[in-house]
């Protein structure tokens, strides 16, 4: 048990070092979301009628999109460990080998915290005016991290299952797709009926509504802020637990 904690902390340090030294992934994680933010605000901003300044509306969505990019690089890192001999070596040692996964997940959380701070910073420079108290800020960031958590455990599962770096990279398509079909960039009621059904019942929408509500005083018009928050937390914890257990089992099963 004491060794388990030590293994987790060793693997977390490793994950953080690998992430902070992977320049390509770092640029993807930071520059891409900023570009997307600029694009949404400058290109689409004029056309959108969301009730408040579009930047207030879209900033949380861009942050969740960034979580998707980050997850794709987590999948690639896990795949690399599985195929490069690192996991083979760990399995021949008395360590709890799956902690290699938790190391990548922890690193992903920290990386996304940095990305989130930068996107908020740029967004504020561009006119984003959140009206949140310190406590609301904390809750919003916590909500974002819960979201990053489940999506990263899903990425870890993908990394364990796939057999090539390309397949791990393909994962980013899926996670990019989710925020687009939610209230992240456009109000749900502007979507065609069948897409709206999906958008209203997928995890990104309540997470977005919650973060938006906390930061901008629910200016976008969510009907039931507490309900959305509970739903968001349940979604994220549920999926996080599901994918963490699945990743652990798949890790044990793969030989």
């Amino acid at each position: 048990m004491t060794y388990l904690l030590r293994d987790v902390s060793t693997m977390t340090v490793r994950g953080l070092r690998l992430v902070s030294r992977d320049l390509d992934a770092m640029i993807t994680a930071v520059v891409l979301p900023v570009i997307i933010l600029l694009m949404f605000v400058l290109v689409f901003g004029g056309a959108m009628d969301t009730g408040t300044g579009y930047i207030n509306y879209v900033t949380p969505g861009v942050i969740l999109l960034a979580a998707g990019f980050g997850a794709a690089s987590t999948a690639a890192a896990v795949e690399h460990d599985m195929s490069s001999g690192m996991v083979e070596r760990l399995r021949s040692m008395p360590v709890t080998a799956w902690t290699v996964l938790s190391g990548h997940v922890a690193a992903s959380l920290v990386k996304n915290l940095v990305t989130t701070a930068i996107v908020f910073g740029v967004s504020i420079l561009m006119g984003f005016r959140p009206e949140a108290s310190a406590l609301e800020w904390l809750a919003a960031v916590g909500m974002i991290l819960l979201f990053v958590g489940w999506i990263t455990w899903l990425a870890a599962l993908v990394g364990v299952l796939v057999r090539s770096p390309e397949a791990a990279g393909g994962f980013s398509f899926f996670v990019m797709f989710l925020p687009y079909v939610s209230s992240a960039f456009v109000p749900v009621d502007t979507l065609p009926g069948w897409l709206r059904g999906f958008a209203e019942h997928q995890p990104v929408t309540p997470v977005i509504e919650t973060v938006r509500g906390l930061l901008a005083g629910d200016a976008a018009g969510g009907a039931d802020p507490v309900g959305a928050a509970v739903l968001a937390v349940v979604w994220c914890l549920g999926l996080g637990l599901l994918f963490a257990v699945a990743a652990g089992l798949a890790f044990r099963a793969r030989r």
Binding site: T10, L18, G85, E88, R89, P94, V95
Partner: protein, 321 residues
């Protein structure tokens, strides 16, 4: 001396139900004497990596039994892991970490007491001649240096048995030599080494006993001296215009022809080589070409089993198992 690693009747097949492909390991028996080096010598696809993976608890055999220091590799896997180290066919180090960071991480994962990690890491970096580069990211190191670090990572805990899967494949001759020195040092410190290789020379330099594997079986076993007695330190290799010419000459020099080739074991002395060539000349058949060559793995197989080891190339290129 007692055996520290034993394998009896190991059997392993990756075939799906109904497929006809032969087993990867077929009743494989082995023994490694404590304090010595055993080389598993065989061509690509012979089953070397599969054997190492079973002995190091990564893979369960379908049948048969293996022990390390008396512990069963399946039932007592945890105990086995505490006393072995595995350096796999692929170098398993993090390119983005420095040498020091890599070893320190492995020291923690091996559950060394925290206060001894730093000293042990420095000691190994110096012993393996990596101290000067230790602070640089390993991605910038040469192949030989990375391989030495890979070995060092397995030695932090002073394991009783070290498994080395083709440690010098792909290394230049100088790095290979350096690695051999490292392995000899490890053995001097009391660690038993289980080595796989495709190079006869490597088995000869490092091992006290050599097991020749082919098609998942041990086809010959002995000391390097015994093997070499059969094969010769070197061989006079004669290439003829046709297989029938070769077949005509072979009996005269007490050898068997391999296609249009005939190989006669020799100690390499002028007197012996001259006598071989005189006998060949007396047959009246002239070779197209001849040379004196160190024996290769193929020569060993030919001499000991009467056929050349099979290269199994079922694996897709670029994927090392």
């Amino acid at each position: 001396m007692a055996a520290i690693v034993t394998a009896e009747g190991l059997h392993k097949s990756f075939a799906r139900r109904g497929s006809m492909s032969p087993p990867v390991l077929d009743k494989l028996d082995l023994e490694l004497e404590e304090g010595s080096v055993l080389a598993l010598l065989g061509p690509n696809g012979a089953g070397k990596t599969t054997t190492v993976r079973i002995l190091s608890t990564l893979l369960r055999p379908d049948a048969g039994r293996a022990t390390v220091a008396g512990f069963d590799v399946v039932r007592d896997a945890r105990r086995v892991r505490e006393i072995i180290s595995l350096t796999g066919q692929q170098v398993a180090v993090d390119d983005k970490l420095s040498g020091t960071e890599n070893l320190t991480m492995m020291g923690h994962l091996a559950h060394l007491p925290r206060r001894v990690v730093r000293g042990r890491v420095a000691e190994l970096l110096t012993a393996f001649d990596l101290a000067d580069a230790a602070h640089r990211q390993v991605g910038t190191w040469s192949g030989g240096m990375r391989r030495r670090l890979d070995l060092a990572a397995g030695l932090l805990t002073r394991p009783r048995v070290m498994f080395l899967d083709e440690p010098t494949t792909g290394l230049d001759p100088r790095s290979r030599q350096a690695l051999w020195d490292v392995v000899r040092g490890v053995v001097e410190q009391g660690t038993s080494v289980f080595l796989t290789t495709q190079y006869l020379e490597e088995a000869d330099r490092l091992a006290q006993r050599v097991a020749l594997v082919d098609g998942g079986r041990v086809v010959a076993e002995g000391t390097p001296a015994q093997l070499k007695r059969e094969v010769g330190d070197a061989g006079v290799e004669l290439t003829f215009a046709s297989a029938s010419d070769a077949g005509q000459v072979a009996p005269a020099v007490a050898a068997t022809a391999d296609g249009a080739r005939v190989r006669v074991p020799t100690d390499g002395s002028v007197a012996h080589v001259r006598s071989v060539l005189s006998v060949v000349e007396a047959t009246g058949v002239t070779p197209d070409h001849w040379e004196v060559r160190a024996p290769t793995l193929d020569d060993v197989f030919l001499a000991l089993t009467g056929h050349v080891g099979q290269e199994h190339s079922a694996r897709p290129a670029g994927v090392a198992a």
